[in-house]
């Protein structure tokens, strides 16, 4: 059944629009007045004022690798993040851990771990997909460089940003 949409019947005052125009003008001048003399503007003057203290917990900044309590890298070079990364910013070169190593049980570790920050879209998929909780999105957001090469974060840089993160990850537990 077709529904007839009722059009509102406008009074004469509404038809000539003058009252609505006046209303709109009053709204804009109210905003102008508040911006001029009160707390109207919400703009942050960026280089002087920064958002850093107020960054929310869920803020997604630059991705970084973390080490565990024993100062070992958590990454096991499973390459899941490399595969999930939508812009293909992550490149991992895995290597085998030699059998005489204390951690030979882990089998693999990254020889090279590079994130091209010129490509990264800060989506956080790498963090979500990581089974070892080895990669996290930090709150760094001003990633700059003067060349494309500088924008590629290598393993050293990634650990530098990431630092140590404590907390149990099952695979590293010797007793298991």
């Amino acid at each position: 059944m077709a529904i007839v949409v009722k059009r509102p019947k406008l009074t004469f005052g509404e038809k000539i629009y003058l009252s609505s125009i006046a209303k709109g003008m009053m709204i804009t001048i109210g905003h102008f007045w508040r911006a001029l003399f009160g707390k109207g503007t919400v703009t942050m003057q960026y280089p002087e004022e920064k958002w850093d203290e107020n960054l929310p917990e869920y803020y997604r900044g630059a991705p970084a690798l973390v080490t565990d309590e024993q100062d070992r890298e958590r990454c096991v070079a499973c390459q899941l993040c490399e595969f999930i990364c939508p812009p293909r910013a992550i490149t991992i070169t895995p290597e085998e851990i030699p059998s005489d190593d204390q951690w030979a049980k882990v089998e693999k570790r990254p020889q090279k771990f590079e994130i091209d920050m010129a490509r990264c879209i800060y989506c956080g998929f790498c963090q979500e997909v990581c089974p070892e909780q080895a990669i996290f999105l930090r709150k760094d957001y001003a990633i700059t460089g003067v060349s494309r090469d500088e924008m590629v974060h290598d393993k050293k840089k990634l650990y530098e940003i990431g630092g140590v993160r404590e907390g149990l990850v099952n695979k590293w537990n010797k007793l298991k």
């Binding site: 003008m25 905003h31 109207g40 503007t41």
Partner: protein, 367 residues
């Protein structure tokens, strides 16, 4: 004519156009951006001040930086345009707007060492007519720009602009007929002098005059003022009547193909037309350079301070009117094209015509 007169006129031309009008054009762009920002709860350009220092000066250096940017940008002439007309068009929008400032009285007179220098470049006896005649030439600039660009969007913008400007010129011209009937005068200087003595046309609360006549005449004056102001908006192609260059439909309208300083000329011509329009509105309706409450109107020989006060009185009123232009631009949505034409031809044309008769009856009754 002796040499002093010629020299004084030349100085007036240089001072009034190049040191008053052009900076006003530049700074009205700045004011537009700042006011727009404030209305939208932003900050606007507030950093460009003295170069290499931290003095931002509320962004007052922005117009100069903008000008420099326009000068140094690449001046591209597309291969498909008619070069001659393409080059002519920007000048044709800017020049008429600047020429009209010749008859606007910027102040009463400056009494310097016994010389009385009237602050109007050309004291013509056909002031408003001269302004309409010259200002309507700027439509040629837009037509030529739209036609010579030889592509779709400028063409559509040019067509729209032409019909809009021609339509609204009628109501613009008719709306000031009642005003001229009340003044009985076409000389803008004399019009302002009349208002100085008898009270401003929109606020006739001081000075001489019969109460009932003034009160009744206020009706046609307010109608004229509304029609004049709205037509002025349409005439200068500003929102809510900016159909010729509406960004959402026509990219940039008639100046789509223009770049660097040629684009800037269109831009500045629009603002110049807006400033001259507000100058004319102030002169006709808000008493021009005269001070409120009839201050200093009884002095026949005006001392220097009064001349300066008159000049600044005019500037302040004009700036107020420009701010009103900006305020309206950032408040009201754009008209649809048929609504625009309906408003111009069906409402304003008839109301302005009826207004002429209403004024005539009132004037006839009290004579």
């Amino acid at each position: 004519m002796d040499w002093i007169n010629i020299a004084v006129t030349l100085i007036k031309i240089v001072v009034l156009t190049f040191m008053v009008l052009l900076p006003m054009i530049a700074y009205s762009v700045w004011a537009e951006r700042r006011v727009a920002a404030k209305i939208q709860n932003r900050v606007g350009p507030n950093r460009t001040g003295i170069p290499f220092t931290k003095f931002g000066l509320f962004g007052l250096g922005q117009p100069i930086a903008d000008g420099l940017k326009f000068i140094f940008k690449e001046d591209l002439t597309p291969a498909h345009v008619r070069t001659g007309y393409f080059w002519l068009a920007p000048a044709l929008t800017m020049v008429p707007a600047l020429m009209t400032c010749a008859v606007i009285p910027f102040g009463s007179e400056l009494n310097i060492a016994g010389y009385k220098i009237p602050l109007v470049i050309a004291d013509l006896n056909v002031g408003p007519l001269f302004i309409f005649a010259i200002a309507s030439l700027s439509v040629y600039g837009i037509v030529l720009a739209g036609w010579a660009s030889n592509s779709k969007y400028p063409f559509l913008g040019g067509v729209r602009s032409t019909s809009q400007m021609i339509s609204y010129e009628i109501s613009l011209g008719l709306s000031i007929v009642p005003i001229i009937m009340i003044f009985g005068e076409l000389n803008l200087t004399e019009i302002v002098k009349w208002q100085d003595a008898n009270g401003w046309l929109l606020f006739p609360f001081w000075g001489g005059g019969e109460f009932w006549q003034e009160a009744l005449l206020l009706i046609p004056v307010v109608i004229s003022f509304v029609i004049f102001t709205v037509s002025m908006f349409a005439e200068t192609n500003r929102l809510p009547f900016d159909l010729p260059e509406c960004e959402t439909e026509l990219v940039a309208g008639y100046h789509t193909e223009y770049s660097s300083m040629k684009f800037a000329l269109f831009f500045l011509g629009e603002y110049a037309a807006m400033i001259i329009g507000s100058g004319l509105a102030v002169t006709l309706f808000l008493g021009g350079w005269s001070l409120p409450f009839g201050i200093g109107s009884e002095l026949v020989d005006k001392p220097l301070w009064l001349g300066i006060a008159h000049f600044f009185s005019f500037l302040i009123k004009m700036i107020g009117f420009i701010l009103f232009f900006i305020w309206v631009r950032w408040s009201l949505p754009r008209f649809r094209y048929d609504q625009l034409m309906r408003l111009g031809w069906v409402f304003f044309f008839e109301i302005a015509l009826a207004n002429v008769f209403l004024t005539a009856f009132i004037l006839l009754y009290f004579n």
